[in-house]
């Protein structure tokens, strides 16, 4: 599995998508008063189609399948490589979010830069993976339709989250409140988000495995 991940990052995924894009997207947190969930979306707007395209151009799946590896490990390595990049996006978001808070010292008009924002970002990535990979592994080649579907669902999720955070008072108080009980709730919510992210990815791997096992290469 480690070897497959190594192969992903050495042969398929350019460092541009591992460092430069996440760094640039993180830097978007320096924009004052913005929809910060969008900063995380550039991963699937830019990086995912490019990575998939490179895999296809490299005949990566065909090459990997003839090596001594399980088909299920091929699926896991693809999903894990995305998870790693998503986490890098999140980490840069945290770093630049921290700088934003120090610079502007004001609240954001949409979701604040705080635990709930990063929790929702994780959930959005989990939803994206769940919508994308099972569709992609129906063929292990065509990524267009699964990508469009996953983008639509992820953007809808983010839109609903941002709107609810402003217009539904209870949610606004819970996710944006400054009292210690609300802060505790927000931290617990972030932990729950991590668990949801993990669960969504476990389901993603299971469904993708089933689909990948059933196709001829």
């Amino acid at each position: 599995m480690i070897n497959l991940l190594y192969k992903e990052f050495k042969l398929n995924i350019n460092y541009f998508f591992v460092i430069i894009i996440p760094l640039s997207c993180g830097a978007l947190f320096l924009i004052p008063q913005w929809v910060f969930l969008v900063a995380f979306m550039y991963f699937f707007f830019i990086s995912v189609p490019n990575i998939c395209n490179t895999c296809n151009a490299h005949n990566d799946i065909g090459f990997t399948a003839i090596m001594p590896v399980c088909k299920s490990d091929i699926v896991k390595s693809k999903v894990f490589s995305f998870i790693l990049i998503e986490i890098i996006h999140l980490l840069f978001g945290v770093v630049f979010g921290f700088i934003n808070l120090k610079l502007y010292k004001t609240e954001n008009f949409l979701l604040n830069i705080d635990f709930p924002l990063f929790g929702f970002a994780l959930m959005m990535y989990g939803i994206f993976n769940l919508c994308f990979f099972p569709g992609y592994f129906k063929s292990a080649y065509f990524y267009g339709k699964p990508l469009i579907f996953a983008i639509i669902v992820s953007v809808l999720f983010a839109t609903v989250v941002e709107l609810f955070a402003i217009f539904v008072p209870l949610i606004h108080i819970l996710f944006e409140g400054k009292e210690s009980s609300q802060k505790l709730f927000q931290f617990v919510f972030f932990i729950i988000s991590i668990i949801v992210f993990i669960l969504l990815n476990i389901v993603t791997v299971k469904i993708s495995n089933k689909r990948f096992e059933s196709i001829d290469l």
Binding site: N3, Y6, K7, K10, L11, A57, H58, N59, D60, G62, F63, A65, I66, M67, P68, V69, C70, S214, D216, L217
Partner: protein, 290 residues
């Protein structure tokens, strides 16, 4: 000992069927897997490696069931597809470094020796290699992880005669130790006349014959004669072609005796691999070319 044993491999597509494909490849030999385009060569090779879901049949490599021991057996198997266009923009040194991590028996010093022998520069990218060099690189990878069974799908297609000859010599050297076997599919039958010990002939998804090359060639004859006697012998030939001078046909050697009465007016000559392929493909298309 058989290094590869394929039994009753079946796979159905909408317009094509792999029909009970069976053959064996002994240790230390080269087997040519021949058939026209679309005959089922690549499908069979993919079926052997479990890359497609076969409906029936078993594959044994080194005496072990392949499906049950896939990961372990893949350590001893190398598979190369003709176009060989993997990671075109990457340097071969990097690809080898990544691939080496997957094989327990990887021998780095042997790999470096092979690169020198094949005159491959590790700094070159795949796209900068000629077709022949790409095949050599694949062989270098296969040999460096000590593959015992090397499956090559159309390795010589697209190569000039010099590169092909060079490659065939390498194939022969590889099996000299008697421990490795090569199964390579091709429709360039000249290659097999130079280096194959065994021939497996597939036509329209069915194995027509799998035997030693000399026996295979001995089993068929080309007959030709005037058009007037064609109707009398039609039922005994594999297929035939008619032309302005009469006809020519492929016949199994054992059926020659059945057309004895006409021997005086027939020319009989040995068939080569091309002849056998051509006449069998005619048979699949409907029997004759009038």
């Amino acid at each position: 000992m058989n290094i590869l044993k394929v039994e009753n491999l079946c796979k159905s597509y909408k317009d094509f069927q792999l029909d009970n494909v069976s053959f064996t490849l002994p240790e230390g030999y080269i087997m040519g897997f021949i058939g026209s385009n679309g005959a089922g060569k690549t499908t069979t090779l993919k079926g052997i490696l479990n890359l497609i879901h076969t409906e029936n049949g078993t594959v044994e490599i080194l005496g072990k069931d392949f499906k049950a021991n896939e990961i372990a057996l893949k350590q001893d198997v190398a598979f190369m597809v003709g176009e060989n266009n993997y990671y075109r923009k990457k340097k071969i040194g990097l690809i080898a470094e990544v691939v080496s991590r997957f094989y327990m028996n990887w021998d780095q010093s042997y790999y470096e020796k092979l690169l020198k022998r094949f005159k491959l520069d590790p700094e070159k990218k795949i796209q900068e290699l000629s077709q022949g060099m790409k095949v050599k690189f694949s062989l270098a990878l296969a040999l460096s992880h000590k593959a015992k069974l090397i499956l090559l799908d159309e390795p010589t297609s697209g190569l000039d005669p010099v590169a092909r000859d060079d490659l065939l010599e390498i194939f022969q050297e590889l099996i000299e130790d008697g421990k490795k076997s090569i199964l390579f599919s091709t429709h360039i039958t000249n290659d097999l006349e130079k280096c194959a010990d065994y021939i497996t002939f597939i036509s329209n998804g069915r194995i027509i014959e799998s035997t030693e090359k000399d026996i295979f060639l001995e089993n068929y004859r080309i007959i030709s004669g005037s058009a007037g006697i064609l109707d009398d012998i039609k039922s005994n030939v594999v297929s035939y072609k008619t032309h302005s001078l009469g006809f020519s046909a492929l016949i199994e050697n054992e059926k020659i005796s059945k057309i004895k009465p006409f021997n005086g007016s027939l020319n009989v000559k040995n068939a080569n691999l091309d002849d056998i392929m051509i006449y069998f493909s005619k048979k699949d298309q409907g029997g004759s070319n009038d």
